[in-house]
């Protein structure tokens, strides 16, 4: 199953999964549209929102707008939307880290997260400015790896505190599990993304499935935000 990529992919670097063409077309659109689910549920839970969940909802809405803008850039302007996705990586890392910043109970963990954000943003900006239309797999890989570590720390703290009576009723448990599954599944795909495309292997479907799974888990998590 091989196909040719548009020439601007070669000019601007390898595309991200959301730009792949057939046969993943339908899956790509479903994956992009899946963010609508948590967006709708966040509207229903808006009156129960409190500190740790603000970044979750902001993340969901930012992702929704980025998806919409990316579609417009691709299908309306016929340009590369890698810049949008690169910028989204920064926002994604910052917002998801902030969720954990609010739920961590130890000062050194909070400070650690602030330090990571402070280091990540300028480095990411430099990399993006150097090559704005290149989908930077290292940036994504690093962001994913850091978020996995932060989430695992959260699970460790959870086990120490035992502060959640029923795990399946906890918004944070669903959100953290979603983060862990999504980033652990996609991190290697991003790291090896150039290899995958060089070999004409449009196997980005794993990303797309995980993206849908992540959005479903975010939806359940936001649904669990109650008084």
């Amino acid at each position: 199953m091989s196909f040719e990529y548009p020439k601007y992919y070669l000019k601007y670097g390898f595309p991200n999964p959301f730009l792949a063409e057939k046969p993943l077309n339908i899956l790509i659109h479903i994956s992009s549209a899946s963010i609508i689910l948590p967006m709708i549920i966040s509207l229903m839970r808006v009156k129960f929102l409190r500190k740790p969940y603000y970044p979750v909802v902001i993340y969901v809405w930012v992702t929704g707008f980025v998806e919409a803008a990316a579609k417009y850039v691709k299908y309306g302007l016929h340009e590369s939307n890698n810049l949008l996705y690169n910028c989204q990586t920064i926002l994604e890392f910052t917002l998801i880290s902030l969720i954990f910043y609010y739920v961590f109970d130890r000062d050194f963990l909070k400070k650690g997260i602030l330090l990571l954000i402070t280091l990540f943003i300028p480095i990411a900006l430099v990399l993006i400015v150097e090559n704005p239309f290149y989908f930077n797999e290292n940036l994504n890989g690093t962001s994913g790896l850091l978020l996995i570590l932060i989430t695992l720390t959260y699970f460790y703290r959870l086990l120490q505190n035992m502060s959640i009576p029923i795990l399946s009723h906890s918004a944070m448990f669903w959100i953290s599990s979603g983060v862990l599954l999504y980033f652990s599944g996609t991190i290697f795909v991003y790291i090896f993304s150039s290899v995958v495309f060089e070999n004409n292997m449009p196997l980005w479907s794993i990303n797309l499935y995980l993206n849908i799974l992540f959005h479903i888990m975010l939806t359940i998590g936001i649904w669990q935000i109650k008084e």
């Binding site: 086990l159 795990l167 652990s184 599944g185 090896f192 290899v195 995958v196």
Partner: protein
């Protein structure tokens, strides 16, 4: 590079994390169960301590009242009787009236002694369970005329933990009083046995019996809750073999190493 290394690695990583999440949930729940069980155990221990403290306070209060009755009121009544005797010798009052008053005073003195003995079973403190039950049974026989018998095996000289002795004595008292008040029994049998590492007290009667479910309801007035509470504190158990119209057979079992 022909192998989709990223996909394979990504899939493995994701599966590992999925397994991790499931394992985390299982481990978390197990830890939660353990913590809940420990909390429940602590709560039970705390309740037991409260119960023990309340029983101790109850006993201390009984002792105080018994001492007050014996030392103050008993002495006062005896002095009054003596004084009345002297007054009757020197005055010209009616001999019958004085005699009646003396008899009333004698009765009051006896009642005070009886109540104070019931409140503070000195035989229990001094000679143990068998002596205390012997005294109790003879007193009941004398006052009620009901056929109350006490059997025991060869433990007449043995002494046990003070808490165990007092609890079993109070339980026996409570059960016999229940039989007297509610069952209409004409024969009551108390048995005390030392079996290996436990003491067994049984109280049987030929009365009307009772419905266990009814008397276990709050405010039933039979004091079965008291019996259970006392046994809880010393790690004992109670067995009720009762039915309406068929008498009652109640057995309290207390481990001696508790």
């Amino acid at each position: 590079m022909e192998n989709p290394s990223g996909i394979i690695a990504g899939t493995i990583a994701m599966l590992l994390m999925a397994v991790f999440i499931v394992a985390f949930m299982v481990f978390y729940q197990q830890k939660q169960f353990r913590q809940k069980a420990e909390a429940r155990k602590r709560e039970e221990e705390y309740q037991l301590q409260l119960l023990e403290a309340s029983l101790e306070v109850q006993e201390a209060e009984r002792r105080r009242i018994a001492a007050d009755l014996h030392d103050d009121i008993g002495t006062l009544l005896s002095a009054t009787r003596l004084s009345l005797s002297q007054v009757s010798r020197s005055s010209k009052g009616s001999a019958t009236d004085v005699q009646e008053t003396k008899e009333l005073l004698d009765e009051a003195i006896q009642n005070v002694r009886r109540i104070s003995k019931e409140l503070l079973p000195s035989a229990l403190d001094n000679f143990g369970l068998v002596a205390a039950f012997d005294e109790f049974v003879s007193k009941i026989r004398k006052h009620t005329g009901i056929d109350v018998v006490f059997h025991h095996d060869t433990l007449s000289q043995e002494r046990f933990d003070a808490k165990v002795e007092l609890s079993l004595y109070r339980i026996g008292q409570e059960l016999v009083n229940n039989s007297l008040k509610h069952s209409g029994a004409t024969h009551i049998e108390i048995m005390l046995m030392h079996q290996q590492s436990r003491l067994v007290l049984s109280v049987n009667d030929n009365g009307g019996g009772f419905n266990l479910t009814d008397v276990q309801k709050p405010n039933s007035g039979l004091g079965l809750k008291n019996i259970e509470s006392r046994l809880n504190v010393i790690g004992g158990t109670v067995f009720f073999d009762v039915a309406e119209g068929k008498g009652s057979h109640i057995v309290a079992n207390v481990p001696l190493n508790a």
